[in-house]
């Protein structure tokens, strides 16, 4: 009975840790552009937004050129 309880708690903790790790990984791998303006404002354009598409295209070109 005690072993079963420990198994359930272990599985719950494991799945919670896994979910957090997956979410972090997904967030990190998402391409984005951050724009800093002269008035101190910052705009983040994430992959998928229409504004980000052309910018990410040029950024990929730039990175590819740098790496030959």
């Amino acid at each position: 009975m005690r072993a079963r309880k420990a198994l359930v708690v272990g599985a719950a903790i494991g799945s919670a840790v896994g979910a957090v790790a997956l979410r972090r990984r997904a967030g990190r791998s998402r391409d984005r552009v951050e724009l800093y303006f002269d008035d101190g404002s910052l705009v983040t354009l994430a992959q998928g937004s229409s504004e980000a598409v052309p910018l990410l295209l040029h950024a990929r070109e730039l990175l590819a050129a740098a790496r030959g």
Partner: protein, 145 residues
């Protein structure tokens, strides 16, 4: 002609210093506001491609808002791209994944500042007046009295 050669040399020095102090930066290119390459840490062909892409990226990003864009970074799956501008030129750089953006921006801005500030000229040596002359003047003054 000599001025532009001097500028290119200054830009090359700035990039050499930049790659020395920043371990995160893989490649960097200094370009003018029209996209002309002033200096680069990589070969001319790739530098030209980077300059064109950086200028286009910066112009399109600048058009996003009414405020003037001063710097940007793009985080991609396999690396990051940074572009910073000052009044005369831009500097574009690439890094690996997960760079410390604040540090990279700081290093790029320092490089641009170094290019903008003229190097201090060495002070010209001041000559000492010969001792003989002083005595002659005194003599003349004595004669006049």
């Amino acid at each position: 002609m000599s001025v532009s050669v001097k500028r290119v040399s200054q830009a090359a020095d700035a990039l050499a210093h930049l790659t020395e102090i920043s371990t995160q930066i893989e490649a960097a290119v200094v370009l003018d506001r029209e996209g002309g390459v002033q200096a680069a840490t990589i070969d001319d062909e790739r530098a030209g491609r980077i300059a064109r892409a950086a200028l286009e990226l910066f112009r399109q990003a600048d058009a996003q808002r009414e405020q003037e864009l001063v710097q940007l970074d793009a985080a991609l799956a396999d690396g990051s791209v940074f572009v910073v501008r000052d009044a005369e030129r831009l500097i574009a750089a690439t890094t690996g994944t997960g760079p410390t953006a604040g540090l990279v921006f700081y290093d790029l801005k320092s490089a641009l500042r170094g290019l903008a500030a003229p190097k201090p000229k060495p002070k010209p040596r001041t000559r000492r007046a010969p001792a003989k002359r002083a005595s002659t003047t005194r003599k003349k003054a004595d004669e006049s009295t």
